[in-house]
Subunit: 227 residues, 2 copies
DNA sequence: CGATGTGTTGATGTGCGTCAATAGAAGTGG
DNA sequence: CCACTTCTATTGACGCACATCAACACATCG
C-alpha cells in the first residue's frame, strides 16, 4: 500500500499494531515531499494531521514577538511528530520546517482518537513516548536555568556519543546555528565554546566532524567549569 | 471508603471513572500528612506511587550540581502529580516537596497500567493531561530563551488574572522566592521587576497581594519593553 | 525582646548577546 | 574549470541584563 509502510511500522508509536490496524490508520495518509527550509505547518495552524519522517530531518521551533527563533526539537528520519496535537485543542503549538530535502507521511487525525481508544496498547505506547518528551523538556528547562552555555554544549557532545567510550566522533549533520538554537545559545557562543574545548585538547574539529579526544576530561570540564 | 474519595473523583484524571473503578484504584492508597519543606520524593528515587493533593501545595524542582534549585512546577490542592512516572523507567525525574502543611493521597502504581489498558477513556484523559503539561513546558522553554526576566514576570501576573479584565487582584499564596524560581529568575530580580511595575503605576503591591491597576498597560509593557 | 526568616534595595561583577569584520565553503553560471 | 555570488562559521570589541554580594527593613514567633 504505502511505499513507507514498513518504515512506519518500525516507529515506536506504531510498532505494536497489527498490519490491518496500521492499514486502517494509513487509509487517508498521503506523502508530502518538502524542500529545505519549507514550512510544514505554523504555530496556531489548525491541526488536521500528524507526521512520520520517512526521509530527511525536521526542526520544531517557536518565534518570539521580535522574530527570534528557538528550536525546540530536531527530528530525524524514523520519528513521528505532532501526535500530541490531537489533545491540544486542534492547534499546532510550534512551527515545523524541513532542515533538508524531506519526505513526510501525513496522517490525518480524523479517527485517531477512536483508534487509540480501541487499541489500549497503542495508547500506552503513546503515553510512553510523550512522557519521554516531557522528561526531555524538563531537562531542557533545568539546563537553561541552572547551567552555563558551555555546560550545555558539553552535554550535547556527550549525549551524542556512547557513554562508556574513551573517545568518540560526532558528526553534525545539520547547520550549527540550528544546533546552537536547540541548546539555547547563539551561534557565536557555540563557536567559541568549541574553540576553547579545542584549545584545551578535549576535542578536535574539522568541518562538521567533531572528534572527542578525551571524553572523561570533557565530563570533568562540564562538571567543574562550563565556561 | 477514602475520606478524600469525592475530591479525588473531581480530579481531571479520574473524573470519567465509574465509582467501582475508582475504588479499585484506591484500594491500596494511603493518606500522607506532610509538613512544610518536607521532601515527598527525591529525583532518582524508585517510583512506586503517584499523588493526589487533597490539601496544601507542592513544588516540583531540580537541583544543579552546585545545589541551586529550579522550581519546575507549583501544584495546588486538587491536582495529581507524578502520574507520568509510570512510563519513565520507574524513577522520579524531579524532587517534590511540600510548600505548606499538606495532605496527600498516595496511589501505588501497581496495577495502574492495567487499569489504563482496560479503561481507554482514562488513558485518553491522561494523554490530554500530559499533553497540556508538554505544552506548558514548551512555553517555559520559549520564554526562558526568548524573553527577558521582566517579560516572564509580567506574563505570570497576566496569567494569574482573568484575561478580559481591566484590573484584577493576584494573591500570592506561596513565598516569592519559589515563584521567582518557577519563573527562572532570582528573588532579587523578581522584587526589582515588581518595583518598576509599581513605579510605572501598572500595579500596586501590599504584602502578598498584588493589584493589577492597568492590565492592558501591563500587556503593552510586556510586549514592548520587558526591562 | 532577641532570634530567625523573608523581602527590598544598592553596588558591583560577568556571562553571554550584539555588532561588525573576515575567512572559508559551497553553489551558480558562463 | 574558474570568477563571482551567497551563505555559514569564526573571531574580536563592546555593552547590557541579570546574578552576586551585602546591608538593611520588617515581619513573625518563641
Amino acid at each position: 500500500m504505502h511505499e513507507d509502510r514498513e518504515a512506519i511500522h518500525k516507529a515506536p508509536l506504531f510498532s505494536g499494531l497489527f498490519a490491518e490496524e496500521l492499514d486502517g490508520l494509513l487509509i487517508h495518509a498521503r506523502t508530502r515531499q518538502i524542500k529545505p527550509h519549507e514550512v510544514i505547518f505554523a504555530e496556531g495552524d489548525k491541526a488536521g494531521a500528524f507526521y512520520f519522517i520517512a526521509m530527511g530531518a525536521v526542526r520544531l521551533y517557536r518565534l518570539s514577538a521580535r522574530g527570534d527563533e528557538k528550536v525546540i526539537e530536531i527530528l530525524m528520519a524514523g520519528s513521528t511528530f505532532a501526535e500530541a496535537v490531537v489533545f491540544l485543542g486542534g492547534r499546532y503549538p510550534v512551527y515545523a520546517a524541513a532542515l533538508s530535502e524531506t519526505r513526510l507521511v501525513e496522517i490525518p487525525i480524523g479517527d485517531f482518537t477512536r483508534t487509540l481508544k480501541a487499541n489500549g496498547g497503542m495508547a500506552l505506547r503513546m503515553l510512553a513516548g510523550i512522557s519521554m518528551r516531557l522528561h526531555q523538556l524538563i531537562n531542557d528547562v533545568q539546563s537553561l536555568t541552572l547551567e552555563t552555555a558551555g555546560q550545555r554544549v558539553a552535554a550535547y557532545l556527550l549525549e551524542q556519543s556512547p557513554p562508556d567510550a574513551q573517545s568518540a566522533d560526532v558528526h553534525m549533520v545539520i547547520h550549527k546555528n540550528v544546533i546552537a538554537s536547540r541548546l539555547g545559545v547563539k551561534a557565536e557562543t557555540f563557536s567559541r565554546v568549541l574553540a576553547t574545548l579545542r584549545d584545551l585538547g578535549l576535542i578536535t574539529v574539522s568541518g562538521n566532524d567533531i572528534h572527542i579526544v578525551d571524553r572523561p576530561g570533557l565530563e570533568r570540564w562540564r562538571a567543574s567549569v562550563g565556561t
